[in-house]
Symmetry: C2
């Protein structure tokens, strides 16, 4: 029998697979498991506040009494009960009238992003993104052989005039734009919140260019001050594919997300989803549905939002106390992340390595941008770390930051 040697084996890889890179976030996932390290890397939600005893009893009931349904195949579009639960969550997001018939349940919203690529993008197409943007989306775009093109942002997120210019330029270049991918509320990683009036202008620009919008909103309800800003999809349903998820308000482990799809595109989106994974876990869908219909899920969201708000404040206090003021950031108004930058020229990938040696880990900005080169940006996640440990992490990283700033001075 002939044996594949690694060099020969690589001839079996698709082009895309020869260039697929591990997400820097996942790369540090294993490192971040080291109990001696303070991890400011992963955006895990805080789960200890969940009513675990009661959820356990619910899971018991779903299997013992309804096991022939909860362990069986279900409809490809998702269970009707879960689609209704998704509409309940979307109402709290600011979309009061979502039609459950237009919802497709996916095994997490990464799978919904990936399905959007499958349904709407041909190889070589452009996806317009904020810079920085979600690393998981960039990896999905890469495997579908799409070009992620950054459109400029400011401290309020997408700049509609710049988006207009970007789309005009791409049209002049003859590029097909599959969609705008945007996280308007407390974006991962930037933490920015796109104001309501900009949302309208972004929708107007996309309509004028006839560009579809994929609006990813995992963090919208994690708002530190007041109510969530209504999603773009609320007023522009027919050109927006809206992505929601149970991951940040309940559990990422169940892997239940969804897309609310314009009616004219719904069937193809659903068939593309089914071709990828048939359907999301029935067991998970029934547990997530129970959380929305039988528990005080909004009370839980309020509770964890308060916790994240306090952690974000503690992180900022620690940064003020321990880090060189050359580290600049926009204070987060919601979500899981603080995004900032050091003076130009600092390489935060190198800084990350030094940070790990000093006992704390974050994610360097290079992970979140389609733009090659040295990046001086970094993301600090405060969602999963208690206040004392956050302060300790900042303290450990302080000399590393000082060294980097001094090295540029």
């Amino acid at each position: 029998m002939s044996t594949l040697v690694p060099a020969g084996a690589r001839a079996h890889l698709a082009r895309r697979a020869t260039t697929v890179r591990q997400s820097a976030v996942r790369d540090v996932f294993d490192i971040a498991m080291d109990p001696d390290l303070v991890s400011l890397a992963g955006g895990n939600p805080w789960l200890s506040g969940l009513p675990l005893e009661e959820l356990g009893a619910t899971a018991q009931r779903l299997i013992a009494q309804q096991g022939t349904a909860s362990l069986q195949y279900g409809p490809g579009q998702g269970l009707a009960s879960m689609r209704a639960a998704a509409c309940t969550v979307m109402a709290a997001d600011g979309i009061p009238d979502a039609d459950p018939e237009l919802v497709v349940i996916t095994p997490g919203s990464q799978a919904a992003i990936d399905t959007a690529c499958r349904a709407f993008a041909d190889p070589g197409d452009v996806v317009v993104v904020e810079d920085p943007t979600f690393v998981g989306a960039l990896t999905s775009f890469q495997t579908w052989e799409l070009a992620a093109v950054a459109t400029p942002t400011d401290e309020h997120g997408l700049v509609p005039e710049e988006l207009d210019a970007t789309l005009t330029r791409l049209a002049a270049e003859g590029r097909r734009v599959a969609f705008l991918y945007t996280i308007p509320s407390f974006a991962n990683p930037s933490g920015l919140l796109l104001p309501a009036e900009r949302r309208e202008r972004v929708a107007e620009v996309c309509a004028r260019h006839d560009v579809l919008i994929v609006e990813d909103n995992p963090y919208g309800q994690i708002a530190f001050d007041g109510e969530p800003v209504a999603p773009i999809a609320a007023a522009h349903r027919d050109r927006t594919v809206y992505l929601g998820t149970m991951s940040k308000i309940f559990s990422p482990g169940v892997r239940v997300g969804w897309a609310l799809v314009p009616e004219a595109l719904h069937r193809e989106f659903y068939l593309c989803a089914e071709s990828a994974f048939i359907h999301a876990s029935t067991t998970s869908q029934m547990l997530a549905t129970a959380f929305v219909t039988e528990f005080d899920w909004q009370g839980h969201v309020r509770e964890v939002t308060g916790l994240y708000r306090a952690r974000a404040a503690a992180l900022q206090d620690a940064l003020t106390e321990h880090w060189d003021p050359a580290f600049e950031y926009t204070p987060p108004a919601g979500g899981f992340f603080l995004w900032g930058s050091l003076p130009a020229g600092v390489d935060t990938v190198e800084l990350m390595r030094e940070g790990i040696a000093a006992g704390a880990v974050f994610v360097p900005g290079a992970a979140f941008t389609p733009v090659e080169g040295v990046h001086s940006t970094l993301r600090l996640a405060y969602s999963f770390v208690d206040e004392e440990t956050l302060v300790e992490g900042v303290r450990r990283l302080a000399p590393v930051v000082d060294g980097a700033v001094a090295g540029r001075g």
Copy 2:
């Protein structure tokens, strides 16, 4: 605000999405929900024999006591415990020494098939398939813009010499063959079992042509007579991507499958999987792991295999009694399906419609082949229907079959 009209909206679809078709199996899924209809369509496993009370207690414990882990993100490759459980299942499949480090857990094995396309196939590549083959695989290949090319089979499955000729012809045509996709044991839909000596020759042919094998084995342990035949991967690990699943031996609702990947290709496969869905449900993985480590899972497999054997026998008896002998089939030796054909020229898509009107539904052969045209083949699933109902379904369909045969006489 401009409004997308459906015609305009379709301009937003990817090429692949304009041609994606609903799997005929899934299409009849909704129809098959009609309680007045006898469904011989869906390949659902029989779940009533599961120890649901005890599994419910396990689920309770996993959430109440380990909820901060079972509801949280996990490693992209899958939980170490689930990868070990997958190796236990593969040992019973006939692969005694699988390395858990080379296993990637996926949300069902459809997602593993789809990941194989992502990792190994460029648009325009060929996937060589048995004809007929699994409809879900064909749909996945279609969305990755791959050409499924059928290689001839006989009553024992793949014919190695024909495979050699097919690969020689494709090489002469300058086509890149991404992989051979094969279901050697009790295939869906054909039910055929590839003998051990043919497995060796198939591996030899693929080695000679340097073609990767994707071996899908959901039904291997559902063997009516004796032990499972060892998978191709058992002796040819370095050129075979082996796909396993909990769907047929435990539960399809948990959506837990896996791939055992050659070492030289493992990392790229894993990264491609992660880009599609991050990881399979942690909750589901922990429940599936518990089923393998804490329950008499092999006793359950023996029990349902006995049940499926009895149902297959009852189905064949009913066919002998009620259907025209012009319906020819190979008696299944395992798995969920009986595959047969009516005289050439009979269109079983039309027959399916008549069958539904007569009160019973099956899946027409057209669903399972990449070859266009009229097909006289059909699939009868016996896994989920009790013996009495199987007989009733056959009885209801008999006049429809008679009419079709007479129409051709």
